[in-house]
């Protein structure tokens, strides 16, 4: 028997105070900006089928991997500005920046495209960090807007000396992105990595006049991927095709089948032009509390249970 408190838990106290404060500040920002905070079910009959995201099964249904589908059904029902802070689950994801159960902030707005969401990100961070500077593990980041906008294509050429096309053809996209491109992104100042190949954004609409490019961006600070956003696809037939394609790729890779989210597909045709974003709260808190490991910003990592 030990006579001391559980040190692994006790030493996180300061960080957890900061964590709670940051989440309260996030809520205050959206509430002041006339967003409606919503809570949608964590356990659902179907997620959006995605080739590389595995849901956790729960008594015949699934834990949600993102509240996206429910949020978009609300958009389709006429809600114009929505946000949610919730736990989501993704099977077998555990690393220095990944937890299988983690906290997401998502927000959605009708009648806008993804450019407006980039401004939202700049405003949110300025609200959370009024001094507009963060220092993380010896690196300093200047948050003064506007932040850099860099296309995925230019990022590969600039930081890895290879065209996006070539990286994809050689099946080295993820490897080059993770080892060569990402560490260079958002250094000194945040970077929006924009314009993804359409096949890498199953729920995004394509750029007007450019059917091969999706209006998707990811936000990076200090090599950290913090958020993923897009202008939302609202064509139900096209969405069904894309889900079926993802589902086929899952089956070909020997993964368990994922049912199609029929209620979402039925209502998607009523959704206005809109854009939405998923922002990783735990990673944001890592940056704002100068922590190198995601386990340090939550009370319990899975290994501590």
């Amino acid at each position: 028997m030990t006579r001391d408190v559980n040190w692994a838990l006790a030493h996180k106290q300061q960080t957890l105070f900061k964590r709670a404060r940051i989440i309260q500040d996030i809520r205050a920002f959206f509430i002041a900006d006339d967003f409606l905070e919503v809570e949608t079910p964590h356990r659902i009959p179907a997620n959006a089928p995605e080739q590389h995201i595995d849901a956790v099964a729960s008594d015949g249904w699934f834990l949600h991997t993102s509240p996206e589908l429910a949020m978009k059904r609300l958009l389709a029902a006429g809600y114009a500005r929505l946000f949610q802070v919730c736990r989501v689950w993704r099977a077998a994801e555990r690393g220095s920046r990944h937890l299988p159960e983690f906290s997401l902030l998502e927000w959605y707005r009708a009648e806008i495209d993804y450019h407006v969401l980039m401004h939202d990100c700049e405003r949110l961070l300025t609200h959370l960090v009024p001094e507009q500077r963060i220092s993380w593990q010896g690196h300093t980041f200047d948050l003064t807007p506007p932040w850099e906008r860099l296309t995925l294509h230019d990022a590969f050429v600039q930081h890895a000396g290879i065209s996006l096309q070539e990286a994809l053809q050689e099946n080295r996209f993820e490897e080059i992105l993770v080892n060569q491109v990402e560490p260079q992104l958002g250094q000194g100042k945040p970077t929006f990595l924009i314009e993804y190949p359409a096949e890498m954004a199953a729920l995004a609409r394509t750029k007007p006049g450019e059917p091969t490019i999706a209006e998707r961006f990811e936000l990076y600070i200090g090599g950290f991927e913090l958020a993923n956003a897009f202008s939302e696809l609202n064509d139900p037939a096209e969405q069904r095709d894309r889900f079926q394609r993802e589902e086929k790729q899952r089956r070909d890779a020997g993964k368990p089948p994922a049912p199609l989210p029929e209620a979402f597909l039925n209502e998607l045709g009523r959704m206005p032009e809109a854009a939405g974003i998923a922002f990783g709260i735990d990673r944001l808190i890592m940056l704002l509390t100068d922590q190198a490991e995601i386990a340090e910003v939550v009370a319990f990592a899975p290994e501590q249970l």
């Binding site: 030990t2 040190w7 006790a10 300061q14 992105l177």
Partner: protein, 188 residues
């Protein structure tokens, strides 16, 4: 038996190009909506050479073919750290580079497992916990009663780690040899 990517973790020993390697650092990563990558820093257990490898789902690995033998830590001399098999009296010497941080957790007569690749000692498996006395640490700051505050401390073997602010020089503490982290004070 072989390992898949989901088995990879720090400390796992694999056979790569016919030589035993240990995963010195491990991270799981997954960009955006892309496929999972398993980033490993591998140490060749014979040469000590370190290098990076990134694997993806679907790859498989053979476990390193190593023999593990119960031995006792005797002493350190100019040849290195000396261990002995108490049944055969056979001795094996490991150098500081091979032991890395494990050398800080050796206590005289400690029962350990020595890893052998053929005849050659290439590593040690220590008991999970070791008790060591703090030799140096900044004094407790009066008024600092927050449960979460920590400070650096050095123990008798020269190892430095973070401890709670109430730990003072002379205190016997328990350290987890797998992570090198402070666990608790030890009642004497």
């Amino acid at each position: 038996m072989s390992y898949s990517c989901s088995d990879l973790k720090k400390g796992l020993k694999l056979m790569i190009d016919g030589e035993p390697h240990v995963i010195a650092q491990f991270d799981f990563t997954k960009p955006g909506k892309g496929q999972a990558l398993y980033k490993c820093k591998l140490r060749n257990m014979i040469t000590g050479a370190l290098f990076d490898r990134t694997y993806r789902s679907g790859e498989s690995f053979d476990p390193a073919s190593l023999e593990e033998r119960d031995m006792q830590y005797l002493y350190q001399d100019e040849t290195g750290y000396v261990f002995m098999d108490n049944k055969t009296y056979e001795q094996v010497v490991l150098d500081a580079d091979t032991l890395a941080d494990d050398r800080y957790f050796l206590v005289d007569n400690m029962e350990v497992k020595i890893l052998l690749f053929g005849e050659r000692g290439i590593g040690v498996t220590l008991p999970n916990f070791v008790n060591l006395r703090v030799t140096q640490s900044d004094p407790w700051v009066k008024g600092d009663t927050a449960a979460g505050n920590n400070k650096p401390a050095t123990v008798e073997t020269g190892y430095t780690l973070q401890v709670p602010s109430f730990v003072e020089p002379g205190t016997l503490i328990q350290i987890d040899t797998r992570t090198g982290d402070y666990v608790t004070r030890v009642k004497e």
